[in-house]
Symmetry: C2
Subunit: 457 residues, 2 copies
């Protein structure tokens, strides 16, 4: 009833850009992983910050939850309407508002996706480096503190957002940060909203750091007999200060999946996929020096190239890893884990995880952003098979416990959402209560994305 009143009030502003059609509700109640559908009561399509503020004010007046929706590619149920309410879909707010080549920054609306941004930037010589795999919206990437293959060089969303425009729970609009590269002017509200998963405010604008497209790129691949040797190679490379733009680990099971899915002809062993960005001479030197380290660590010869086609083939294969893994068990869905540990503990974390999966009845190829100590197992289960889901959840649970014991985190880049709240107390202790105190201060009625990230929410 309250929700209906909110929807009626929003309709006065948005007209037919708020809908309650079943197909729209179903679409926005679905997710890419194993969570049950949770549709909202309505879906709104605002075209401006003022309209978002009007939606939030109407919801606040009637006690109606508000959930922000980018592309729906979250893996932890972030954008599901757990308590119904209004989902704000940002597909009509995807403009690139401003680019400054001199400052290497730009301002975008939250619905713009990273691939769309990079297409628009192509002629400028600049690019936005954060690459979580999915063609996610930039607002959603900020809200979940996304990262991916390039974080080892360029950082995560935390490092690549200069400023935000945010609609607060009471409809006020604030601007955090500035276009200055750094500031000591008070609490870091930008970083507070990045990763807050829509629970503290709705992001309606982002000012992003951009990078110059590298003059040259080299990339290559090599195999190791075990994960330990691969990780030792990564550690030595970082210690020598060789700047990697990407360094990805895939295990033997993932290599096998690549062979089947993409005719990759890889030995069924752990591999590193590596990329360097820099000057022509620089990336050649870096690849050569990396190859020397690989040889010392007993890896297969590091085959690298500066040719665009060969690089694209390599990273297309990596980007399709999720689908390659899915295809390795036809008809399967995946529960994707996401722990991150100090890199000195990465080999044991991966090896113990692999042994645990091998002792279970379900397959779980492992791949990871090894320069950051972050890795995923794609636990492949039959849709609707409760027993397999329980086994996958138990495997995931043990991965998280292992990661926390090793000084790591329950989620390196996917976020908390609905899937990881159970671990927040173990990971943060009283810090989780501090998060709740901040939530209470900024959203006392708990209307912004309720049921996510926080305790009893």
């Amino acid at each position: 009833m309250a929700h209906e009143q909110a929807i009626a009030a929003i309709r006065e502003t948005l007209g037919d850009r708020i809908t309650t059609s079943k197909s729209d509700l179903d679409l926005h109640g679905a997710n890419e992983t194993h969570f049950a559908p949770m549709p909202p009561d309505a879906v709104a399509y605002p075209e401006s910050t003022a309209e978002v503020a009007a939606i939030v004010r109407a919801c606040a007046a009637h006690g109606c939850p508000v959930v922000a929706w980018g592309t729906g590619t979250s893996l932890e149920g972030h954008a599901l309407a757990r308590h119904g309410g209004v989902t704000i879909d940002f597909q009509r707010m995807k403009r690139l508002l401003r680019v400054s080549p001199e400052d290497m920054d730009c301002t975008v609306e939250p619905g713009l996706t990273r691939e769309e941004l990079n297409t628009e930037l192509r002629a400028t010589g600049l690019f936005f480096p954060v690459d979580p795999g999915a063609n996610a919206s930039l607002g959603g990437m900020a809200a979940t503190r996304a990262s991916g293959t390039t974080a080892v060089r360029y950082g995560t969303m935390r490092d690549n957002v200069l400023a935000l425009e945010v609609v607060l729970a009471d409809g006020r609009v604030i601007h955090t940060g500035s276009r200055a590269r750094k500031s000591s002017a008070g609490y870091d509200l930008t970083r507070l909203f990045i990763g807050s998963e829509g629970t503290l405010g709705i992001i309606t604008g982002l000012t992003l750091r951009l990078q110059g497209q590298p003059e040259a790129v080299s990339a290559g691949i090599c195999a190791f007999d075990d994960v330990g040797a691969a990780v030792s190679t990564v550690i030595a490379t970082i210690q020598m200060g060789i700047p990697m733009a990407r360094i990805e680990l895939v295990d033997a099971a993932t290599a096998a999946a690549f062979n089947a899915y993409a005719d990759a002809e890889m030995p069924e062993k752990p591999h590193l996929l590596v990329e360097f960005h820099g000057s022509e001479a620089g990336v050649a030197e870096q690849a050569e020096r990396f190859g020397e380290i690989v040889a010392e660590m007993g890896g297969s010869p590091f085959e690298w190239s500066q040719q665009t086609e060969e690089r694209n083939r390599l990273w297309k294969m990596r980007h399709n890893a999720y689908y390659a893994c899915l295809a390795s068990r036809p008809g399967a869905t995946a529960l994707v884990t996401d722990v991150c540990v100090p890199i000195s503990r990465l080999a044991e974390a991966v090896e113990e995880t692999a042994a645990d999966i091998a002792a279970s009845p379900i397959p779980g190829p492992i791949l990871g952003h090894v320069g950051d100590g972050n890795f995923h197992a794609a636990l492949l289960i039959e849709p609707g098979n409760a027993e397999e889901l329980a086994i996958a959840q138990a495997l995931s649970h043990r991965m998280v416990e292992r990661a926390l014991k090793l000084g790591g985190t329950a989620t390196g880049e996917h976020g908390v959402g609905m899937g990881k709240t159970a671990y927040m107390e173990a990971e943060h202790g009283a810090g989780w209560e501090v998060m709740s105190a901040i939530k209470q201060a900024l959203d006392p009625e708990n209307l912004l994305n309720p049921g996510k990230l926080l305790r009893g929410n």
Copy 2:
């Protein structure tokens, strides 16, 4: 009276490590800049986190303010006891607790200074890169989100702290972040406490990212006819992706001060001081390419070297810039400004500032971390001369207004403290109210460093 009760309660735990001697109070009521002395009622010297928590609990029980003190090198009055109370001096908590060469991280107590840390790290091949000039404590550097000459390459304290231990206003101890390189596990409390200036909690431990000591370093200097050409050189260098470890601008007045103070024999023109870190071949290539850009922009020949002695001479001169500027007006004290703007607006910001200073009766050499768009004017005034202080404050005021108009910030690295609160509403709008709401949630009695950063505090 309340303060006396708190002091008595603390004495039960700390014995004679809490003192009310006049010399101690005076020392902790002083500052390096123009603020009037504001001594606390007592100074405590804890030796452990548990003792810090006991101090805070005693202060909370009796409504007594608590101020954290590192080395007292703040330039905005951060550590002054504006409302009296107990100052916690961390000089007995300065241990390096742990170093992991494989993870390139370490854990320290907050009183350890950055130079002390780097001395302890020397044998490991690692170093901590953030360099604000002063030999500040690492706890203080985190609390003020310090940066300095190397931020263009290595980032600020925001980027180089992985995890914190914090004593909250009620004496609870929390651990934020982890040793994992990245995480999406909830609100970014680490970044919230970094830059919170002791108003949300007392930092009692820090886990820091370290860097490998570069295999090779090249550094050099060149002059330009005007600031615009120097800034254009920096912009072009960044756009070409040439990674600078430091790039510092000094204006003609600062060059003159160097000549007088350090026999520098520099033409009295704007200069860039630049450093590159990398492999032997890499830093040579970078210096050569930078030299080409300088030549295109009409600068003097870029003289560079990989020799340690020449580099040390260059950076020693830069590090002593504050003293060189002070010496250029014998007996003077300085009001040091600290704006930061988008780099495309830097030339006009510097040039308008220089013209404004030139039209005033007081000298103000300008120098800056030009790769970040951050610059300082050292406004040299006669101690106790109220008229000159007012002129300097008016110059500083116009610098801040200009910076905000250009999309920048009132403080790039010095913080808010007592000196910049007047600009927070203009810079943050309703965001400043959000900061107050967070403060209210975490420190409802306003006992942690009252009178700083926030409105009416």
